[in-house]
Symmetry: C2
Subunit: 193 residues, 2 copies
Amino acid sequence: MSPRAGLDTHTLVIAAADIADEQGIEAVTLAALAAKLGVRSPSLYNHINGLQGLRTLLAIYGLEQLYTMMSAAVEGVSGDIAVHAMSQAYVDFARSRPGLYETTLRAPELENVPLELAGNLILSLMIHALKAYDLGEEGELHAIRGLRSILHGFTSLEHKGGFGMPLDANISLSRLISTFIAGIGNMKDVGKG
Amino acid sequence: MSPRAGLDTHTLVIAAADIADEQGIEAVTLAALAAKLGVRSPSLYNHINGLQGLRTLLAIYGLEQLYTMMSAAVEGVSGDIAVHAMSQAYVDFARSRPGLYETTLRAPELENVPLELAGNLILSLMIHALKAYDLGEEGELHAIRGLRSILHGFTSLEHKGGFGMPLDANISLSRLISTFIAGIGNMKDVGKG
DNA sequence: AATATAAACTAATGTAATTAGTTTTGCAAT
DNA sequence: ATTGCAAAACTAATTACATTAGTTTATATT
């Protein structure tokens, strides 16, 4: 299987995502990836720009997958239902692809155009869903920050086993989103500073 | 300075926390720590249980410091004010000691008694602050999860530069907490499932 | 002063990322 | 079909780090 393994960038990213999901993000090394693909690690450099490059590609891939899930979830719904659906999709994605999700947060290069693009897609999805609440320009931005904080924080804590109690996490999430929506008037530009 | 540098475990942890804050958590290596302390890296093993042991100690130290700040913040206040104050203290701590804060989340050993203890102190502080809202037993647990998600998520996103917009983050936080409090009735056991 | 212990050291091993330089393959153009 | 080239794989070597084993040395206690 040695000569011409027929690799390409996408194959590497898929395989690396698998490793991340199965063995954790720490296990995503070029050595492990090369072994999984039946190749020596320097060969990977023909397709990716080192470990850092791979991590950036993983982040982009993860964001794209996340966007796909969230986008499907809000298809044809709006208002509170859309916010709940989007949130549930976010958390479900992180649960089903824990390693891949984590790569979206450890992106080494902040100024990577495709990475920013993928992030902006998700952002615009959230913005669209929050339009229903008439928060004003700044209010909307604060609300986005809030929702992102909630989703990322919840996901992150759940992943690291931070929710020790035997209490249904989906209920926790659902109530948290309901809480957020119920109080969302506090995000408005007027009436609060 | 070679013979008998006079190190001890606490000195190592302090120095490692400095590295984490100044150069990021990735820079916390035994090699770097040893260099900073004027010692060869194997010498560190007299005081810590390898890199993993150091990380656990860092996490404990970070949680203790965080607890100290939060605890001071709620001194003598209660209700909404306490929740706001505690939240602000949490975020301020993460801002002032970004590396140390991050170590509290990457704890390798989940079943470490002192680590759990330090975490439980913070938890009990939150529980106490939320007593004011009469949420019931389960409601309280869901609310704790919610507040932790918010604080960790907000902190984490801010740290990674996720809040691109030129919009005051303290206002975002304040509104998020107000939103949470305003809707907290949704955490109650009755009236929602 | 003698000694035991703990703290430092040197030396060595294993893993990983990365670079340089080489071989080989497959396709494209003749 | 043959030639030639670019890409994809390789080997070899370097660097950095964690870790272990075994040695030396300082210091506190007797």
